[in-house]
């Protein structure tokens, strides 16, 4: 059996894999979000609040994911009119709004943080969720919606001229990603047992972005590999742990030069 230590490492890696997939989905439609931590926070706080009331964990998780998905629709709506870097600014602002909200929202602890959450996260359930999310994202790639997302990403004018409703597809992408982040948040809250607003800051959104660009933003396995590497490496190599951000910064620079498509090549280039 795995030691408790490794179980916890794998759990966090799995949560990060979910976060990576949550960003992969909107990114494959060309929507780069720098606010995924905001969706994660919504899933974390709401599910923790509900389990404290005695709601069963799966139900609380579903509620957290649903709430994140609905907020995803609201955040996605203005994103329909803007592109590229402005979407990044918009989502960055969203992430900060959520953080500040929970910092001041006293029913869930406010600045003191939210403690006393029950330890309900089992590492095999996290792995199961990762597997389900990965299969869903993989199947999405070979569905009408997934193709439409790629088409929009590559040429939205041609996509619209070929009958694709840009609004439906972009909102779906944003919202589906947010749902996955909400699930990750629920697992996270019931693993750390104490959450505060700072755990869902910009650094977390930026690290999520790192998983995807490092692993490969055009291959569903890319964010999985990225998240696992970034989570496990500091645990196994002491040096990496001390120089964490420097190491990943360097890794990103090297990746940008040698592997601009990420470690894993786009899916369509494997034939």
């Amino acid at each position: 059996m795995l030691s408790g230590y490794w179980e916890s490492v794998i759990t966090f890696a799995g949560i990060n894999v979910l976060m990576g997939l949550s960003l992969y989905v909107p990114m494959s439609a060309g929507l780069i979000s720098l606010g995924q931590a905001g969706f994660m926070a919504i899933g974390a706080y709401l599910s923790a609040y509900l389990t404290k009331l005695g709601v069963p964990f799966p139900l609380a998780m579903a509620a957290g994911a649903l709430a994140a998905g609905i907020v995803g629709l609201i955040v996605g709506a203005p994103a329909l009119r803007i592109r590229g870097i402005y979407i990044m600014i918009l989502t960055l602002g969203f992430g900060e709004i959520v953080r500040v909200f929970f910092l001041n929202f006293t029913p869930t602890g406010g600045a003191l943080g939210y403690s006393g959450i029950q330890p309900l996260t089992e590492f095999y359930w996290v792995l199961t969720a990762c597997a389900i999310a990965l299969v869903a994202v993989w199947r999405l790639r070979h569905s009408r919606m997934g193709r439409a997302m790629i088409a929009i990403h590559e040429d939205d004018l041609a996509a619209e001229a070929m009958g694709i409703n840009l609004m439906t597809v972009k909102l779906f992408a944003f919202s589906f990603g947010a749902v996955i982040a909400g699930v990750a948040g629920a697992f996270y809250a019931h693993q750390t047992l104490y959450i505060d607003a700072q755990q869902f800051d910009f650094a977390r959104s930026a690290t999520t972005f790192l998983y995807v660009v490092l692993g490969g933003p055009a291959n569903p396995l890319g964010p999985v590999l990225g998240a696992v590497l970034v989570t496990i490496l500091p645990e196994t190599l002491r040096v990496v742990q001390d120089w964490r951000m420097t190491f990943f910064g360097g890794l990103l620079v090297i990746a940008a030069i040698w592997r601009p498509d990420g470690l894993l090549k786009p899916l369509h280039s494997y034939r």
């Binding site: 569905s143 996509a159 619209e160 001229a161 009958g163 694709i164």
Partner: protein, 254 residues
């Protein structure tokens, strides 16, 4: 005979520049209708307006008697008007078959069905779309290329693929913007045959082309645009002898 498409008094202004001035065009169902004119005449601009990619500054546009001015491009496609692009715009990250399947999306039903098919493991709509895509790929003569990526095709084959993608949407009106560009004489002959086959399958074609010989051979009717105005409209035999057209576009070589 009622017209399939009526563009009435269309104007398009880009800043201070009037690209289209009071343009009227009627396209009869079943015709191969050519739109010719010198560079910068406004042909592509008119295409963009007909396909919903651009909104006219003034004027109305109607399809099968129904005004659709100002509709989005995806709504116009769903109505039955599909197009290619003068400067090819394929989706390089999708396979050749997938590019054509994008065209099939318009016929794949509602979003609810989409989500249901997504849950099912072998969605029928998906298989049907693939079959249809392969059929259309055969039709345009690209069946030998389906293992390639769009970016690996020659420009001529990329144009064919764009035509296939447009055809996959099952249009009633197909807009072709300079499909013969870059083609050698034998390829132009193949295109001639293809355009006639498309028309014979019941699809009305609006063709923008600088290849005068092709136009005069396939077109039932020709509209000539120059500096944003219609200067002539009629059957090819008349257009070829029209003084204004010869001066503005065809030149002495005709």
């Amino acid at each position: 005979m009622t017209a399939l498409l009526v563009a009435d008094a269309i104007s398009k202004r880009f800043g201070g520049y009037l690209a289209l001035a009071d343009v009227g065009v009627q396209i009869r169902a079943g015709d191969i209708h050519a739109l010719i004119g010198p560079n910068g005449a406004g042909k592509t601009t008119l295409f963009n307006i007909i396909s919903g990619v651009a909104v006219p500054t003034a004027g109305r546009i109607a399809f099968q008697g129904q005004d659709y001015t100002g509709r989005r491009a995806d709504q116009v496609l769903a109505m039955g008007v599909a197009r290619n692009f003068q400067h090819v715009r394929l989706f390089p990250g999708l396979s050749i078959v997938e590019n054509v399947m994008i065209g099939c999306h318009a016929r794949m039903g509602s979003l609810l069905q989409e989500l249901l098919s997504y849950v099912r493991l072998e969605p029928r709509a998906e298989r049907d779309a693939r079959d249809r895509a392969l059929e259309v790929i055969n039709f345009v003569g690209l069946q030998g290329r389906i293992a390639m990526l769009p970016g690996e095709l020659t420009l001529v084959d990329q144009r064919r693929l764009e035509i296939a993608r447009a055809l996959a949407s099952g249009p009633q009106l197909l807009l072709l913007d300079e499909p013969a560009a870059g083609m050698n004489p034998s390829e132009v002959n193949q295109l001639d045959t293809l355009i006639r086959q498309i028309r014979d399958s019941g699809i009305t074609v609006l063709l923008v082309e600088h290849h005068t010989r092709l136009v005069m051979a396939v077109a039932d009717r020709v509209t000539v645009l120059s500096a944003g105005r219609v200067i002539a409209d009629g059957p090819p035999s008349i257009i070829q002898r029209d003084e204004a057209v010869i001066t503005a576009y065809l030149g002495d070589s005709q």
